[in-house]
Each structure stands twice: as C-alpha cells, then as structure tokens.
C-alpha cells in the first residue's frame, strides 16, 4: 500500500512537470513558419493599400476577402484577386504549420480562431473587418 501511494505521488509529480511543459509556450520559430511569415510580410506592402481603401477586409475565420470590388480599378482587379488568394493560402499554411510545429495538428482550428481575433483586434483604423453583423469599419 505504501508503495502504491509513493508510485502515485511520483506519477503526479511527473504529471505536474508535464503539465507545466505543455502550457509553457507555442513554438513559432521554425523555418517553415518563418518562410510563410516573410512571404506575407512582403505581400502586405501591396495589400495594405487595399485594406485602407476598403477593397479588402479581414474575415472572422482568419482570412482576407475582397469586400468591395468597386474600390479597385478595373485594371487592378485581377491582381487583387491573386493577392487575396495568395494571402489566404499563406494564412492557411501558417495555421497548419504552427499546429504541426507544436505536434498538435488538431490545434489548427483553435490557432486559426486565435489569429482571426488578433488580426481583427489589431487592424488599423479605417480598415474593414467582418463581424457578426457584417462588415464594419474600424
């Protein structure tokens, strides 16, 4: 009986250690994540104008969407579509990659939700973001 108690105590200690480790951090410093980040950073130079003009907005699922095609000159419309598609591809990959880097692929949805909230929260004044009531301007 004594041995049992000691075994359980030891295991609980181990568990506590594991628990702290699991809660400690989210790993985002991997080559894949950094590559995606760099690609998004570069694209942002072009996308920023479209966020500001309201042509492109931030959605509630951590993506971007063409909100107002009318705000884009006809000649640029195709390139905006391509920008949005490429950005969303990168974002999808980013969420998946972070989940994988932390050995929890099943976290992808939660990571996406976290990002969705933070993108919207941190969006600059004048940008359009999707809410439960539709598009709103920050």
């Amino acid at each position: 009986m004594n041995t049992l108690i000691r075994t359980i105590a030891a295991m609980l200690t181990l568990l506590a250690a594991l628990n702290v480790y699991a809660a400690a951090d989210i790993e985002v410093n991997t080559p894949a994540v950094n590559a995606i980040k760099a690609s998004m950073q570069q694209r942002h130079g072009q996308l920023a104008n479209y966020y500001a003009s309201g042509a492109v907005g931030l959605t509630m699922d951590g993506m971007v969407a063409l909100r107002d095609p009318g705000a884009v000159p006809l000649a640029a419309r195709q390139s905006v579509n391509a920008l949005v598609a490429a950005e969303n591809q990168d974002r999808e990959a980013l969420y998946a990659e972070i989940a994988n880097a932390n050995a929890h692929p099943e976290w992808q949805a939660e990571i996406r939700n976290t990002f969705a909230q933070r993108w919207i929260q941190r969006a600059q004044r004048g940008w359009w973001v999707m809410s439960n009531n539709g598009w709103v301007q920050k």
């Binding site: 594991l18 985002v28 990571i111 990002f115 933070r118």
Partner: protein, 58 residues
C-alpha cells in the same frame, strides 16, 4: 488483486495526460500577436513601439 494495484496508477496517469494536453490559449495569443506585428510591421498606439527584432530565444 495485486495486478489491480499495479494497473490503477497507469490508468489514472493516462487519464490525466489526456485531460492535460489542452490548448495553451494565452501562449497562442502571444505568438499570434508577435507574428502579426512582424507581418504588418505595426506600431500600435496602445502598445509601445517595439521594433520587430528577431529575438526568438524563448
């Protein structure tokens, strides 16, 4: 009977491990903020304008 005593801690342990692997929401938020800052290169009014350096030792 002895077998039960040996197996019990293992069962308890595996149950706890399953429960304890939860999503670290606060850490994820921090990580997201950091990435967003770098992608957007933002200096927010409500945040001190810290330069996005590459200092990811932690």
């Amino acid at each position: 009977m002895k077998k039960i005593w040996m197996a019990l801690p293992l069962i308890v342990l595996s149950a706890c491990v399953t429960i304890n692997i939860y999503f670290p929401a606060a850490a994820a938020e921090k990580a997201a903020d950091k990435i967003i800052e770098e992608v957007w290169q933002t200096q927010h009014a409500d945040k001190p304008a810290d330069k996005p350096e590459v200092k990811e030792t932690k």
